[in-house]
Amino acid sequence: MRERRPIDAILEVKALHKSFGTLQVLKGIDLAVAQGELVFIIGPSGSGKSTLLRCCNRLEEPTSGSVVIDGTDITRPDVDLNRVRQKIGMVFQSFNLYPHMDALGNVTLALRKVQGLARAEADAKGMAALTRVGLAEKARAYPNELSGGQQQRVAIARALALEPRILLFDEPTSALDPELVGSVLKVMRQLRESGMTMVVVSHEMEFARAAADRVVFMDRGVILEQGAPAQIFSRPAHARVAEFVATISRHP
């Protein structure tokens, strides 16, 4: 498998299908994401964007097809899922911070329990991750004491602390008040500048236009069109894409 993948693809999705019962959500997705690339996935609700993302760390089990992360086919039955998941950071729409732990506790839990680091070492790594998202001074704050934007940045730090090869963002700003979106996007931009590979399901068009290398448009379980942001947003080949872009530009 190794020799066939593009030279520096971190994520390679091949012929991915996913059905829930009789409902086919993904109908054969092929997508390769290169090292350091920022890929935006857009599309109408129900088009399968989130399901695709969730198949990439097997929070959803693909029905068929494969997902190769950094050379490891994670859909193989003998794969050590808990091991590969550390290399795939995931950020959720609703943050999903652990409410019974402070920010540092959230960030260091997997470092201590999965990677087996001593508390001091985990705390040092955790503080470094919180510093990257600009929240070192909130290390001892509990989630309910943080704003939505701060909670999402802690969630990003939680993923970052494990030094992932790729970060998956599932509508990271959709649950945020408009004035808090900027702080999260700022962190994402910094991550991109530091060379982090990212796949983002989001409708933050301005951000996509400014920061994305590629925009992927999904519709009814297939990738209908993909290309540079300028192409997708300004002169898409498909009428459906143009229609969708026009709609969300009016109601972002």
């Binding site: 998941r85 550390q86 959720f92 839990l109 999965v114």
Partner: protein, 225 residues
């Protein structure tokens, strides 16, 4: 009103002086029987709820059958069956063991349901977040789900614990030397119900602190999200 006769029957100082030591002995037995029931019942209930959260079909089926059966059965019946029927299948046990086992099984059944409800009440996103960082199912349960679930289960659990541990009184029917055993045998021996009054006082002395403690724990663990 016949206050004097009431006092003679229920608050008879002379009878009380003769029997209070028996009651204190009974308190000791009641205390460690109740403690043993709480430890075994809550431990088993928690273990069953955890096992159920792994969603093995057959395992979950048996857990549900167990929980439903022992929530439906009167504890007294369970004690009597264990003590009087089990010797016929070569599983004889002492009255104390029979009472402990019966009450532990009943508490385990209720505790399993309460813990399970607590586990279900934790949003699915918590599991997803934990699993996405590479934590195993057991780690996720222990470090992320249970700490949140247990807080929600404290009020129903303490109520159930108090109800079941008071059921230690049922041990008197198979002659476990707990409070009620001494109180009722004292009452019939003396021909005066004052030992029962002592017994009641003993229960209040034992359980009132527990009730107050549970109230304190509830307020302490009440939290905002």
């Amino acid at each position: 009103m016949e206050l004097q006769r009431l006092a003679f029957s229920f608050f008879n100082g002379e009878v009380a002086a003769r029997y209070w030591l028996d009651i204190v002995q009974g308190m000791w037995v009641t205390t460690y029987l109740a403690a043993a029931v709480v430890v075994a019942g809550l431990g088993t209930g928690l273990a069953l709820a955890m096992a159920r959260s792994f969603h093995f079909k057959l395992g979950s089926f048996f857990i549900v059958v167990f929980a439903d059966a022992f929530r439906a059965l009167p504890p007294l019946v369970v004690i009597i069956v264990l003590f009087f029927a089990f010797p016929y299948v070569d599983l004889a046990m002492s009255a104390f063991t029979a009472t402990w086992l019966a009450l532990s099984l009943v508490l385990a059944a209720f505790a399993e349901e309460i813990f399970w409800a607590g586990i279900l009440s934790v949003p699915k996103g918590q599991t997803e977040a934990a699993r996405s960082t590479g934590m195993s199912r057991l780690q996720t349960l222990v470090y992320v789900i249970l700490p949140q679930a247990v807080r929600l289960t404290i009020p129903p659990l303490t109520n159930r614990m108090i109800a079941i541990t008071k059921g230690t009184a049922l041990g008197s029917v198979v002659a476990v030397h707990e409070i009620i055993y001494y109180a009722s045998s004292g009452a019939s021996e003396a021909g005066n119900p004052t030992p029962l009054t002592l017994g009641a006082a003993a229960y209040v002395a034992l359980f009132l602190p527990v009730v107050i403690l549970s109230r304190w724990i509830e307020t302490r663990f009440a939290w905002k999200r």
